[in-house]
């Protein structure tokens, strides 16, 4: 019987396991499907990781390495090259591996840290031929950075998510010509620093309110891509077509939390985040099963994944070691301009002094105000100079503020400053 099984040995799983150890759990197991720990960070060889957590700029593998080092001083066990096939409410974890075959492991608590996957061409129904040369940005990144192969010479990138932007620079450094980055929304989906460092510094044009409307193939590989301007309803505008000679299309059109195990365990899901509904301590609707990192909601910065996961690990330790009383939570509702919040529910007695709330806005805001209201009454407000859907927002609610809440729901909303 394990005190805690962590599913996934990427940044979320590593931080959760370490924090649970620090909080006193002894018998902890990380199950990782790859042959090494670190998850997606292993292919993120660019720098910019760790500015918040370690106050320095690290590469992805270095950032993961810090946590892997920290775990060496603990007795946290690791099963590599092992896939979790199923999890259930009794906290049984079914795993397979070449080494140990099929096993059913029992845990007192579980942390789900499976991360996310990329949206594909099929999800956005791009018309045209279906040749080789269309990659999700993350797959291309794996080929370049892990396997050592170039996937193309003349590249169009669809979507301005961070991985696409990073790959624009990476492909350029490897000698490819990145002809354009095309974004269907009127604003970029990535971090501003990535727009500057990965596109502007390399003179790669960013076409906002544009999309790919046709892909043509010659001899099995991409040969031409048509890009069109779109109207306010994101419909292509006839006559606005531009044709590019290229051999490669990289897609950076969003990430989706990887929740097959979560769903099959019967855990309640939030259809806006595509992740589990969680409480203030990252516990899911099934007691003793926690979730953290990109499997809950897609983060911009790994530093925030680590922080969230440390809370989940600590909560798992508290669940196993301590006693907690049932209590009715306060629900967080998405008000105007807010597309989701994490957590979705807060149990006030479980928080020490403050509760972290993360959310995303639906549009670009300049000078603006975030308000948290309890019915008609505003219980907290926060000023911002700039907000965008591509940048996750973070607010703190104090125990004092939450203690005063009269209703069963508080609403988080955003508006332009007056």
């Amino acid at each position: 019987m394990y005190d805690l099984i962590v599913v996934g040995g990427g940044p979320a799983g590593l931080a959760a396991a370490h924090s649970a150890w620090q909080k006193g759990l002894k018998n902890i197991l990380i199950v990782e499907r790859d042959k090494e720990l670190g998850g997606i960070l292993n292919q993120c060889i660019h720098n910019g990781f760790g500015l918040h957590r370690f106050k320095e700029e690290l590469t992805g593998p270095e950032y993961a390495g810090r946590f892997i080092e920290m775990l060496k001083d603990t007795h946290v066990q690791v099963m590599l090259d092992t896939m979790v096939l199923d999890i259930n409410k009794n906290r049984e974890v079914h795993v397979i591996s070449t080494e140990n075959g099929y096993q059913v492991l029992q845990a007192k608590s579980i942390v789900l840290a499976m991360g996310c996957r990329e949206r594909t061409r099929g999800a956005i129904a791009i018309p045209g031929d279906r040749p080789a040369g269309v990659f999700t940005a993350g797959s291309a990144q794996r080929y370049l950075n892990m396997e050592g192969y170039m996937v193309g010479k003349r590249v169009i990138i669809l979507g301005s998510g961070d991985i696409g932007l990073i790959m624009a620079r990476r492909m350029t450094l490897e000698g490819a010509k990145v002809l354009a980055c095309v974004e269907v929304m009127p604003y970029s989906g990535g971090l501003i620093r990535n727009i500057v460092q990965c596109l502007e510094d390399w003179d790669i044009p960013l076409y906002l309110s544009h999309t790919i409307t046709d892909i043509k193939a010659e001899n099995g590989r991409v040969s031409h891509v048509t890009v069109s301007k779109v109207d306010d309803m994101r419909n292509p505008i006839p006559g606005s077509e531009m044709e590019f000679d290229c051999d490669t299309v990289l897609l950076s059109v969003g990430l989706i939390p990887e929740n097959e195990l979560t769903r099959s365990a019967g855990i309640q899901m939030d259809n806006r985040t595509n992740g589990a509904i969680v409480y203030e301590n990252m516990e899911t609707s099934v007691p003793g099963i926690f979730a953290c990192g990109n499997v809950v909601h897609v983060h911009d910065l790994v530093d925030y994944v680590s922080a969230e996961s440390e809370r989940a690990g600590a909560a798992a330790a508290q669940f196993v070691l301590g006693e907690t009383e049932a209590e009715t939570p306060i629900r967080l509702s998405n008000g105007f301009g807010v597309s989701y919040t994490v957590p979705q529910q807060i149990r006030v007695n479980r928080i020490d002094k403050i509760a972290d709330v993360f959310f995303r806005v639906r549009q670009v805001y300049k000078k603006s105000v975030i308000e948290v209201s309890d019915g008609e009454k505003i219980i907290a407000s926060y000023k911002r100079d700039h907000m965008a859907p591509g940048e996750m927002e973070h607010i703190l609610l104090t125990r004092a503020q939450l203690d005063k809440v009269a209703g069963d729901t508080i609403t988080v909303s955003a508006k332009e400053a007056e």
Binding site: G122, P127, R130, Y149, M150, N219
Partner: protein
């Protein structure tokens, strides 16, 4: 010199090869692509039709009903995913209700078992998410769903195990009648044959004209599809057709044997078999028509679009027969061609006999195929499988839970794949919601390792579809 050469290894050529491989014959199948099932056989609705649609008295009617009857045993013996879930033809108006009754009459005449006209209460009981505008439907319990490329592979692989040769990348460029045999010219040199079977799909009219007067033309016709995530499978419990019209059987909504939902096709004339692109207008048409049947379909859950080109003849009938001396057409195989395939194969055997081919049965021909699908095993069987071969313990495709053991089995199967999509068709990798985003690079690695090739030689799919173009810079270059 071969006794029989089959031109084309789609489901028709493969089924014919399977039947013929049970006899003592030197048999070869020529395929111009780098794998079998590369035309309409891999891009279609994946339905085994009941057989109420073709006009009574036609070959299509007889072979459809017969092929449907044969499918269940064949799929069990050859380990092909198949499920007899039944189909509904939905009527949305009084006029369409007349069509439904016409189809019912045809079904009775064609010998389709169990056809019934049912009313909205019953329909909604069977299909809770169906449109409330449906006024009635034809219920045909014998219709089924199948994995069409695996049906083709199962026939072709079994034929190979019985001694037939599949020659890939072999394109027929001309046929010469050398008095007592045929000389088939191909891009790989000449092939000699006593008898030829033309199963060349969209190109079957051209192959026919290499030896005989023109009697039919193929009018290539494209159908576009959506394949939806598994979470959409609850939209339909049966194959849901709309009333057929002049363009074909209309847009259907159906579960697939892989556990997804398939939606499509439209019908649009195209130039040739290479026109398998999707179009914005075609996809919009499919969405609109599908929502008429099942308004709850959420197209945000699409995981792939594809299209296939039908080998429609210019006449409303299969073009099956002796076209010239010792030359048999299995041509113009439009829908319900997939459903009819095993019956068409028996027809080919009959026609060869008529041509004078003396057929002697092999004593113990192989008629079964076993395939390990790890996902479908019980926990105990999984444990045993991993003990026997540890590679079954490593999951490569996480969406579909496909193991390295299954991939290696596929690579060393009787018709070895040379591409990532070839592995996909055999093992099921990349069929899931991430569409190979995660497992693609790993499948490239495994293919390169098992085939002893450089990863840059591994193709995505057909000829020329290179994935990796060069190596990244080395330290010295930087």
């Amino acid at each position: 010199m071969y006794d029989v050469v089959i031109i084309g290894c789609g489901v028709i050529g493969a089924a014919a090869a399977f039947e013929l491989s049970k006899f003592k014959l030197d048999l070869a199948i020529l395929e111009k692509e780098n794998d079998v099932a590369m035309g309409a056989s891999r891009a279609n609705s994946a339905i085994i039709h009941a057989g109420y649609d073709p006009k009574p008295g036609t070959l299509m009617a007889r072979l459809n009903v017969e092929g449907n009857r044969m499918a269940e045993d064949l799929c069990r013996d050859l380990s092909v995913p198949f499920s007899r879930i039944g189909s509904l033809v939905l009527a949305f108006s009084g006029e369409e209700m007349e069509t439904v009754w016409d189809l019912y009459d045809r079904g009775i005449k064609n010998g389709v078992p169990g056809v019934e006209v049912i009313m909205p209460d019953k329909i909604r009981e069977m299909e809770p998410q169906i449109s409330d505008k449906v006024v009635g439907a034809l219920w045909a319990p014998s219709a089924g769903i199948i994995n069409p490329w695996d049906y083709t592979l199962a026939f072709a692989e079994t034929a190979v195990r019985n001694g037939a040769e599949v020659k890939l990348n072999t394109c027929v460029t001309g046929i010469e009648n050398a008095e007592d045999h045929y000389v088939i010219h191909t891009n790989q040199g000449d092939v000699e044959a006593q008898y030829i079977i033309n199963a060349a799909g969209v190109e079957s009219d051209k192959v026919h004209e290499m030896v005989a007067e023109k009697t039919f033309s193929i009018l290539p016709n494209r159908g576009e599809y959506y394949l939806m995530d598994k979470c959409e499978i609850e939209r339909a419990n049966h194959v849901l057709f709309q009333c057929p019209n002049k363009d074909g059987k209309g847009v259907l909504v159906s579960p697939t044997t892989g556990g997804n939902l398939i939606v499509g096709p439209n019908a649009e004339g195209v130039v040739d078999s290479s026109c398998v692109n999707n179009t914005a207008s075609g996809m919009a048409f499919v969405r609109e028509k599908a929502l008429k049947s099942v308004p709850t379909i959420n197209f945000r859950n699409s995981i792939r679009n594809f299209s296939g080109v039908r080998a429609n003849p210019d006449q409303d009938e299969f073009q099956i027969g002796i076209a010239a001396q010792n030359f048999i057409d299995l041509a113009g195989i439009k829908s319900p061609g997939l459903s009819s395939a095993p019956a068409i194969a028996l027809e080919a055997v009959k026609l060869l006999k008529e041509c004078g081919l003396h057929l002697v049965e092999k004593e113990n021909p192989i008629t079964t195929r076993k395939k390990i699908r790890f996902r479908g095993l019980t926990d105990k069987q999984k444990q045993a499988a991993i003990q026997k071969n540890p590679l079954y313990g490593r999951v490569i495709c996480r969406c579909e839970t496909i193991t390295e053991g299954e991939i290696v089995d596929a690579i060393h199967s009787p018709i070895p794949p040379c591409s990532v999509d070839g592995v996909k068709r055999r093992a099921g990798t990349g069929m899931g919601r991430c569409q190979g985003g995660f497992c693609g690079p790993r499948v490239v690695d495994i293919l390169a390792r098992e085939l002893n090739k450089n990863p840059m030689e591994i193709l995505q799919d057909g000829k020329g579809s290179h994935i990796l173009l060069s190596e990244t810079k080395k330290e010295a270059d930087a």
